[in-house]
Amino acid sequence: MATKLESTFSDVKMTRRTFAKTTAALGAVAALGSGYASATKFTDKIIEEVTASPSPTTKRTKSFCSFCSVGCGYIGVTEDGVFTKMEPWTDAPTNRGGMCSKGAALANVTNSPRRLKYPMEKVGGKWKRITWDEALTKISSKLNSTRDTYGPDSVFFCGLVHGSNEECYMFRKFGMLFGTNNIDHQARLCHSTTVAGLLNTFGHGAMTGTPISLQHSKCHFFFGSNAAEAHPVLMQKIFEAKDRGAKIVVADPRFTRTAAKADLYVRFRPGSDIAFILGLINVIIENGWQDQEYIDNRTYGFEYVKEVVKDYTPEVVEGITWVPAAQIREVARIISENRPSNILWSMGVTQHSVGTQIVRACALLQCILGNQGKWGGGCMPVRGHCNVQGATDMCVLSHFLPGYYGVTSEGSWNWYAQCFSDTPSTSGKITFDELKARFATYNGESMMTKIGFTVSRWYEGVLKPEAEIDQPHNIKVAVLWGMGMSSITEMIKQKEAMEKLDMIVVVDPFPSVAAALADRADGIIVLPAATRQEGGGSLSTTGREILWRDVVVPPLYESKTDMWIFQELAKKLGFGAHFDYKNIEDVTREINLAVRPIGWQGQTPERLKKQKENAHTFDPWDGRAKGGPCNGEYWGLPWPCWTTDHPGTPVLYCDEAPVMEGGHDFRANRKTDEGEEIVRGNLPPAGTGGTIHWTYNYAKDPTGEVNKQAVAEGNPPTGRGRAMLRVQAKWTDRVPKHREPIESPEPDLVAKYPTYEDKRLYRVMTEFKTEQDRSIAEGRHTKYPIILSSGRQVEHHGAGAQTRNSEYLVEIQPEMYVEINPKLANDIGVKHWDMVWVESARGRCKVRAYVTERVNEKTAFMPYHWAGVFQGEDYGDRYPDGAKDLARGDSVNIIASPGYDEQTQMQETKVALCKVYKA
């Protein structure tokens, strides 16, 4: 009938009231309007008739939180396709239904009105929506032209700490095929020193237990970890142990909420961490409290440690750390008398110019007490992002390939050329020579085997003259993939770099600081990434447990999973054949094939999914399934998991169980400089060892037969080695020793314990001694009398892009502040919540004063999740209209120290000098 109604309504005879008059009047407009209805650019069809089910369905999906790394399970509820709420997953073995304030707001994050909905480009100072195809075409042609003109190293890729293992693996693979090692992620900024310290001491660079294993401890020694705020659900495990009589010792420059729960709290000077630990070891050896049998059989180099620590008597250490000698003795006594004791740390340990060595000191302490490799004992670096462990394992890092194969060895590239060709998951084939040809040649050498820039200093690659960087040309394009830029120090330089680049590509669910910081009218494309609730795949918890996420709700708006974006971009760049996975499980299978050094063989998608469906069969006490379809398996098949029959390894280096029951040992196949094999001095306990076969050549065995042979012989394929208390001679400090921070308040101590000599690291010169001397020459220790440290808040996460946009979280924690002691506040005439300036040699921040005894008179503390205000100036207007973060604040990283770790370029956020005054 409609087709007959060609004429307009005015032709119809009118008799009646309102509609007679008005519809006649509107007829012409209306007729025109229907013409526009079909003239759409973005939307083909809006509505369709559906044969939907008569009633809306409610779906419950088990998944895992996407904030910190504890691995809390929850049930995401969708009603009629809308993610409406979360329900407790009460038999999730780690959290048993509990969530912290951040985790409870996950639906709020996915549904946030601040989400980026479409690909957009900034043109002439204005944002414009573009189609995915336009966006990807523009990006790929810019990447290609930059590659052609300046070489592949002129692109810097960074981020993806929230990606699944599969997507992180794809990201690193993407960098390899693009032809650059300029690819790095947030782990550089949080636990790169943990990885370097533990890997070189033990064989693996990860937390040695699981959150569940913490319940078995007799003493928790928090050293630079504020779990009560940073990892609230992990804290529950600590309390369960406490209820069973375990002690809690907290050593921290700040009286944290964790310290409030301690049996003993010790306040020490920021940056004196190594001296403190060496002091403890001194007292332990002095009293004969060390586990000598353990040391003799399972470690190498104890005598050298003994030699070093003899100079760190409690009295000497008191002078360095400001901790009374008696307190140092007391801590040593408690951790010795209550074994197995562990040591927990986070950024408090890692973010120092001596971060790797602080980690080494912690590792030594655990070995000397005989804790390392015991349930409840060991090193517990608690990680920050939900999949930072996995992103680290997949090595979105400029010095490793997935599975910690070093980039400097051609063998690593050979292995990956083989895996990329052999994997049944993709159709692509590539030879070693073809892969090498993807990279530039510089000074006659291939850049393939050169370590790339890091997240912490990438901006130097943009700003420094080309003669001062170790690559052919400056960085011209940055691809920031889920990277909150405010967690990086030296923000003033970063901003300058972001303005100098030819193009910035931001891939993020929220257009974060990355899009707003740069003062530029063109050359930014933002792509809407799906949140973790909208994508599948696996994640690795801080305890190496691999958990499988199902999709709670499909990607909203035009957001796409990271996987999809990689696939499409790879297609446009001409290496799509290496990314033509049918589904995310195919990627997991490629990881199973390629990532061998850490034992990623047993965690097949099928096993991971089966565990999730049978979570209730796992005993929350030890995380092991008792009966049922997963009988004997540990929750999350913690790596190493050597074969598809292996149960996973919840406690690393635990030689008390057979390998097929989760037993393990220190990595062998390492040698001392003197050529001595690092193999253990005795057999492990009866029934666990089997044949003496110290090392296996398993890491590049695509068949997996070597793994099977090793476990059949009762050994881990990594062999049965020793912990290296003393490392090889290539290290500046073979045994940790105290070195003052780059900005030290104590010139006399600097003279006695100077930092390292300047060093070329990660393609750029890093000033250690020069900057430390400069600090003293400028008199910063008198101009800036307060030591500034930074850390987390329970309500916020990372750079804050997600949490500072959640109404609920912002209501609880709305503003940036600096914690100062009441005495300091009174001396500078400041009341609680007054505005103050915190100034360092780099710049200044305008924030609220939080007057509290949490810090002492000489120390100030600022949370690091804040951005959007830059040196007192609100950048709200620079955000795309309406995209400005709900809560904004000045970033502590504007004023943080210019110090970097000697091994990994971790930035030194925990010690800087500042002054505080009324604003």
């Binding site: 009938m1 119809v12 309102t18 009047a25 509505i47 939907a52």
Partner: protein
């Protein structure tokens, strides 16, 4: 053609015009029509105040529009800025944001129930939630079309009744406020006109639906 058919046809087309204005950035054809003064201005005497003001402004807008490219760009920028983001749009065009103060709120579930009952849903390619103003207006458009295609008065009445309920329980609850917000935040003047016309038309259409139902 019956009177009712004619009315349904006009309403259908007017809804098409309106939903298109909110669906995405303006098509080039619209900019051309504005510059060439081809968008007809109705006889204002028979319209309500909001519509009168809206169409007057539209007339003025056309008179001052000279260059198609300029107008197209200005309208595109303005659409992006107020409805699209990135980030929270200046005037979020979603019922949930008005009624529940969140995205994906109860209002979205409610409208989805209404659509489901009517036997429709959004197409796979439509990226926005169904409480977007464009989708809600499109639903009214679809019901007009259904009425026109109906074989019997029963079905026409069914469609009109659904429109009446949807108007009262959804559109009228938030769109007038939304239109005021557009009016207050818009910088190009074009969407100010559209906001006024939308608000006026919904007020008018509420009456029309009642009259049509009386007639049946």
């Amino acid at each position: 053609m019956t009177e009712i058919e004619g009315c349904l046809q006009t309403r259908k087309n007017f809804y098409a015009f309106l939903y298109r204005m909110y669906l995405e950035e303006p098509p080039r054809k619209l900019a051309e029509d504005l510059v060439n003064k081809k968008v007809p201005i109705p006889d204002l005497k028979s319209l309500n105040d909001d519509m009168i003001e809206g169409f007057k402004m539209l007339k003025k807008f056309m008179e001052t529009s000279k260059d198609v490219e300029d107008v197209h760009e200005k309208l595109t920028d303005e659409y992006t800025r107020i409805f699209l983001g990135p980030g929270v749009p200046m005037v979020p065009p979603y019922e949930s944001m008005y009624i529940d103060d969140v995205m994906m709120g109860k209002s979205l579930l409610d409208v989805k129930k209404v659509y489901r009952k009517a036997g429709i849903g959004k197409s796979r390619d439509y990226p926005e939630p169904e409480d977007h103003i464009a989708f809600e207006l499109k639903f009214m458009h679809w019901l007009c079309e259904e009425g026109l295609n109906a074989g019997d008065d029963g079905r026409v009445k069914e469609c009109l009744t659904l429109q009446k309920t949807f108007m009262n329980e959804h559109l009228m609850r938030w769109v007038p406020k939304f239109c005021d917000d557009v009016y207050g935040n818009e910088r190009s003047d074009f969407y100010k006109c559209i906001a006024k016309v939308t608000k006026g038309f919904l007020l008018l259409d509420s009456e029309l639906i009642d009259e049509l139902l009386e007639d049946l």
